[in-house]
Subunit: 189 residues, 2 copies
């Protein structure tokens, strides 16, 4: 399996090579994401905060519509400990969830800011409707061919297609020096 996955990764077409052995802890009973065989991870909202991000540009679907997202990255205990200790690579069992929302705003919030800080011209935005959640799962036996990470993308609890998942590892390759994780642990104010 490892050789097959390596070869397929090289041509950016991992579709169909499902690495399904023992289930990852906390997985639901629903459909597994293609390629990596990861199911929706129950309870990830109780993981701890790694950092927050924002993404702007055009929608990835080719519609050309504007994309504005606020994002949060949460880690399970193993991932958070590695972040705080500054140890890389992440250990087996580390899991990261990236929660993506459409960026939204309200006149009421901005009016309250204008009343409190009239000269500052403040504008506030917040996490609106859900877009999707993406998981990274560290498993050196199952995912040796993809940086020892499995990847999964769920929208409304349903996994994305194989073409989408084939992009995960190649896209994360530039972050190799941070063990393929783009997000760095945000400082604690």
């Amino acid at each position: 399996m490892r050789g097959i996955l390596l070869a397929l990764t090289g041509v950016g077409a991992l579709a169909g090579a499902v690495a399904a052995t023992a289930p990852v802890s906390g997985q639901s009973d629903g459909a597994a994401a293609p390629i990596y065989g990861i199911k929706y991870l129950q309870g990830y909202r109780d993981w701890h905060l790694i950092s927050v991000k924002r993404l702007t540009g055009k929608q990835l679907t080719g519609s050309g519509a504007e994309l504005r997202q606020l994002r949060a990255q949460l880690g399970n205990d193993l991932a958070i400990k590695a972040c705080r200790d500054g140890t890389l690579p992440f250990p087996d069992g580390a899991m990261i969830a990236a929660l993506h929302w459409n960026e939204d705003s309200s006149d009421a919030d901005d009016d309250a800011l204008a009343a409190g800080f009239p000269a500052a011209g403040l504008h506030s935005t917040f996490a609106g409707s859900s877009v999707h959640v993406q998981f990274m799962v560290k498993d050196s036996k199952k995912y040796a061919a993809s940086g020892v990470w499995g990847f999964a993308d769920f929208t409304n609890g349903k996994p994305g297609d194989e073409a989408l998942h084939a992009k995960c590892f190649p896209c994360h390759a530039p972050a190799k020096d941070n063990d393929y994780v783009f997000t760095h642990y945000a400082p604690t104010p």
Copy 2:
């Protein structure tokens, strides 16, 4: 004390009226924030995610410099349960931390996005250096005059001044219908 606080709140000058009785759980040994007597809350980074926000405008100091912040709101167990159950007001003991960072970006992140999604013109930003953390602490005995919330603002572990803290409750007054909390629980993707 309640009458004094109410009167002072009315003129926006709560300075000096410290409501110091039993310490709030998890407080550090450092200096307490003015007015509400709340010390820096150890361990709040282990609380759970309520939502994320972004704030733009001009710096509040009057320098006129650009302000761009990414923010996260975390809640302790009592606050998170109330959020998830949709019950208001928050119960005594509920605590919320608002973590504010300067918004930062990196060419490396954007280059990786351009390689993965060349037509989307994506730009990513992330939580950079810390600005400060703000706490809301629910205590119906100590903070009856300010919506039953105590407020505190810490920069590098040190509390802000009285003038700053005098603005907390008046600024939060427009959010009275959500128990003085602007942030709503973000959906779980």
